[in-house]
Symmetry: C2
Subunit: 393 residues, 2 copies
């Protein structure tokens, strides 16, 4: 049973960044690439340790180039230089940003022009679950200035590395999952009939932070008579009522790593439908956890859950998948879906997240967080009760 025990160390040893970079460079060499240009918060952090909330400002782009050999090179706004200098990186090139006419583009050009002149290939992440975290116009301008540079999609390369967590990453994920579990454990004592849903969310968020979360940026859910119809809404002012099913889904963070799991409660007596939906999802979750073994694929995991879900709902639902990877992002690769043949490996951290539709437009979700082991998966979240818990008798 996870508990909120002593926090792990913040940050990582330089060796960890060195190991990540070395692994990436072996894959770059296999692909014949002279390096890769990264620009998302998580990819920059993965290779440098550069960790700041400042990414919330969309104003400035940030770049890291991982060369075929040697340490990554940072090309960043001057405002981040002091923080980046505390990392393991040596080569830090800065400009005074924002500079709409040249936000790092000439610095990138200086770095990449020699590679372009050789007709080299470099990697950029341009595939599923990625975004271009720089203005599209700047990207087009950069490419126009590097006419011989060939761009290769390295989405799979980087996501493949990030999917398998290090022991230090798993410690952080375990810590925030334990905090999330403790916060969910306290929730029944914090809520009462008539409490507006907005206040339920507020109480959860404050509780998670008071228990040690750095923040609880993702707190969503719903409550309504006999069940809920939507799982991504902000809270309403509607007061909790007897006969509601309440669901809270939370991504809390610690040192830049997320938990992501949810809990359901019946406010007073629950309908038979809601109890049955909960039972089916609890068993589907169990089937998912049992299927989460090295060698199985995400598709296998999906099929194991879908088989149980089909006892009550054979529609396939509209969520699109039944769980995903977890780490520096609330949702990461892979996807537990029929289309995803990713092979599970030891030390992948995953959400197991079956859902189903029932009644008249209602739905239910259920979610746990696990780490794939050599044998059975290990729960990072405290397993939910096997029957829909009734609060406020």
């Amino acid at each position: 049973m996870p508990m909120t025990s002593a926090a792990p160390e913040r940050g990582f040893q330089d060796e960890e960044f060195n190991a990540r970079t070395t692994k990436a460079q072996a894959l770059l060499a296999q692909a014949g690439l002279a390096g890769m240009l990264l620009m998302s918060e998580q990819d920059v952090r993965y290779f440098t340790g550069f960790h700041t909330l400042f990414w919330q400002s969309p104003t400035r782009p940030w770049f890291v180039f991982v060369p075929a050999n040697g340490k990554p090179v940072a090309v960043i706004p001057e405002i981040g230089a002091e923080l980046m200098r505390r990392s393991w990186i040596d080569d830090i090139r800065t400009w005074s940003a924002p500079a709409p006419k040249d936000d790092g583009i000439s610095l990138l050009n200086d770095l990449l022009a020699p590679l372009s002149n050789e007709g080299a290939k470099i990697g950029v992440m341009k595939g599923h679950e990625t975004q271009l975290r720089m203005p599209l116009g700047d990207w087009e301008r950069l490419m126009a200035g590097l006419p011989e540079l060939e761009i290769v999609d390295v989405t799979g390369l980087v996501q493949g590395l990030r999917m398998v967590k290090s022991p230090a990453e798993i410690d952080k994920l375990g810590h925030i999952c334990a905090i999330g579990s403790a916060a969910f454990g306290k929730l029944p004592s914090l809520i009462h009939e008539g409490m507006p849903l907005e206040e339920v969310f507020r109480q959860f968020r404050m509780t998670a932070i008071s228990l040690g979360a750095d923040d609880a940026p993702y707190v969503v859910g719903a409550a309504d008579q006999g069940g809920y119809a939507d799982v991504i809404s902000p809270p309403s002012q509607r007061p909790l009522q007897r006969g509601d099913v309440l669901m809270l889904d939370s991504g809390c963070t610690w040192d830049g790593y997320f938990c992501d799991f949810d809990r359901n409660w019946a406010i007073g007596p629950a309908s038979d439908d809601a109890k049955q939906a909960y039972d089916v999802l609890w068993r589907a979750t169990q089937a998912g956890i049992e299927a989460a073994k090295p060698g199985n694929t995400c598709r296998d995991l999906f099929m194991a859950m879908a088989a149980v879900i089909s006892e009550m709902d054979s529609s396939g639902g509209d969520i699109g998948r039944l769980g995903h990877g977890l780490g520096m992002q609330l949702t990461e690769q892979p996807s537990h879906a029929a289309f995803d043949e990713t092979e599970l490996k030891e030390n992948m951290v995953l959400t197991i997240e079956p859902s189903l539709s029932y009644g008249s437009g209602l739905m239910m979700v259920h979610e746990e967080n696990i780490v794939v082991g050599k044998g059975p998966a290990r729960l990072l979240s405290s397993r939910a009760a096997s029957e829909l818990p009734v609060v406020i008798q």
Copy 2:
């Protein structure tokens, strides 16, 4: 003096979205555009009201097309359909996402092919402070399928609309600024010598949420002897010590709108340098507030602040600007910088944010939030004390 009074209504009336759309369509017509394709959280929300924390998951792209006439069209993952149906939008096209092979691309193609066949022009945001919130590979694939469609950058068009806030937006911004002010007001009573900076941040975050903030996603700052050297770091475990200058910068949110201002405190007696830096910045802020009048430009505002800052520091600093717009994002257009000739208009909400370097690698920042009026600007944050406040005597 702002107080945390009753909260405004959440959300907006349909008329507001209609007015925003009508204004945008007048500008589209002037530019000869058949519409514009938007995909960032804030731009989608601006025209539809679609408001969810689910954007934190990078998995799914979301699209809104604002046509030359009529209501916007949503092209979104099915998981968001229920929430989007509560908006003023009628035409909602969905797919079961994630679907790596076709994440909305064929739906977008269906929508835009008739325009491509006519050789029409549509707008996309590809300029300063924008990002492409979809995979670059998908964008390239979409464009390859629409060979006659001409893409025009509409960054200025959309940012120009969003810069000037409606009365309802200003109410939300005023509410969260009042909550932020109240939280900063409580901070001295929450901290003590020896408290680790991480705990100072945690106390601030919980206080802001308890006072009514939906969240406090951006809480950064620093504390060190005589001043601090960096303003974007996560907190350390270092205990507060006599002789420190503590700075906390916070973006708290309410109903999807941000405050963004900071405060400084001396822990015990302050050095003369720190007191002088504070005084210079307080007066630079005053000069900035006074210069924030319709007809002046952001450059004028920058110059007014820079003139005062130069009493102590003529380096120009490494922040890149002395404030910015504020709204659904922690930082929005415009920029108070020598390069930004944007003319100030009534109902722009701005941060006034002078900074300077002093001593041996130290810096200080100071920030208030204002709304530009017909006459003098109105403070949304409670003005900081005119002398560096000393806490923990």
